[in-house]
Amino acid sequence: MSFRGEAAIIGIGELPTQRTTLGRSMPGLLGDAARLAIHDAHIKIEDVDGIITEGGDTYPAFVAEYLGLRVRFATGSSMMGASGATGVALASMAVMNGLANYVLVCIAQARNPALGGGAEGFPGHGSEFDFPYGPAAGANNGYGQIYQRHMELYGTTQEQLAHVASNQRFNAQGNPNAVFDGQPITHQDVMDSRYVNYPLRLLEVVMPCGGAAAVIVTTAERAAASLNKPVYVLGGGIGLDDFGGMQKPEITVSPVARSAPIAFNMSGYSPRDIEFAEFYDCYTILESMCLEDAGLVPKGEIGPFFESTDTTYKGEFPINTDGGQLSAGQPGLAGGFRHVVEAARQIMGKAGVRQIERNDLGLVNG
């Protein structure tokens, strides 16, 4: 059993990523992103009969009420930054099994200091066993440790991974939705940026932002009649790792090592067939280890890969063609979802100046 080719994305919506979304709420942003996706799909709002939201602050029952949707399928997808990509896999399962015809997957992040925000951290062991030792902010601390270990195990250098940031910043100059559109940087700028925590430099770290994205997922049968080029979902896997990560067997290996083989098996394709990649990139090191774990680059060889490969939208293997989160900004819960939207946009041929030519088969890690 698989959902290979059974479901497709037929509409996408994305709000510009912004440092703050003053005056806007999560459900309000969801409404705007949903409207864009529904219009893009050329369907009527009444056609939407399923909804997937992040499920925490934007729980489906409230979002459906706020948007005035009458649905027969709904669920949350509470996977932090991966909520949207996970939601697309869930939506695919729903439509292929007849639970709904058109599922709206919509994820938002408001960023408005006046309304408060998620600065209190997550329940867990951190406040007792980590905070007393002075961690760097958010996930910076853990990714600093992963980065340091990857350097020692494989000889990866900061110079190599700085290409991730500078290449993606180039891509963002073709993306009006990117928060760093109009602010190009060079490889040397990355290397000259200050340490937040060694080995992580400031320009290798994502900037928290607000924003929202939405897609419409439907059955392959209905998608065939779409005015858009359908973006068929050929395979997917949903992996999960320790949140804290302290006791992981090997911190330089991501859950992509488990989810990617499932996705590839389902799809019938292999890593060498992939034409472009849209990969979660809260940090240069996270994107790098995930590209390895997906099998696109052998484990430990990501450094030389970035040294020798043009990964811009003009290059031989484009990665994060919209600038990724590093250069478009990280809209919180919608962070990983942007990668899904950009992959769909590229496949539909709607990416404008940053449109890639080989756009039939992409791999997304959201």
């Binding site: 005056g23 806007r24 709420s25 459900p27 309000g28 942003l29 409404g31 705007d32 949903a34 409207r35 529904i38 709002i45 009420e65 706020y66 948007l67 005035g68 949707l69 309304l115």
Partner: protein, 148 residues
Amino acid sequence: MATEYKKPVPRPSVNPEVSAPFWAGTKKHELWLQYSKGSQKFFFPPREVSPGDLTPMEELVWTQVSGKGRIYSYTTIYQPAMAAFAEEAPYVHALIQLDEGARMVGNIVDMTEDEVRNNSLQINTRVEAVFEDVTPEWTLVKWRRIED
């Protein structure tokens, strides 16, 4: 006086800026709702998009409405969730269908205790908004029965 009012005052948690015109209206003892040009309908509570047609915020027009409507349904509360309401129990907590279409929640004032205890209130009873200045900052909308 603000210090004497023990019950909860409105605490906008979704988006205070969006609902501010509603509360500015009640302070003037007027009922203002958002009107969606897209769907040509009124809706409530206030939103950044209109429900059902997702008309964007800039096409939503704050409009003063009649303040008249009908009882859509109600419940008689004997055991309130919040202690501050206990001394008033039993009382009526109703859904009001405005003539303009949107529905609101509110209390029915001017009912005798017998009327309340006998559940004598009927669905479709005509009602009209009344405004109660519970604190210097906040005016709540409540409802009284009318004959029209």
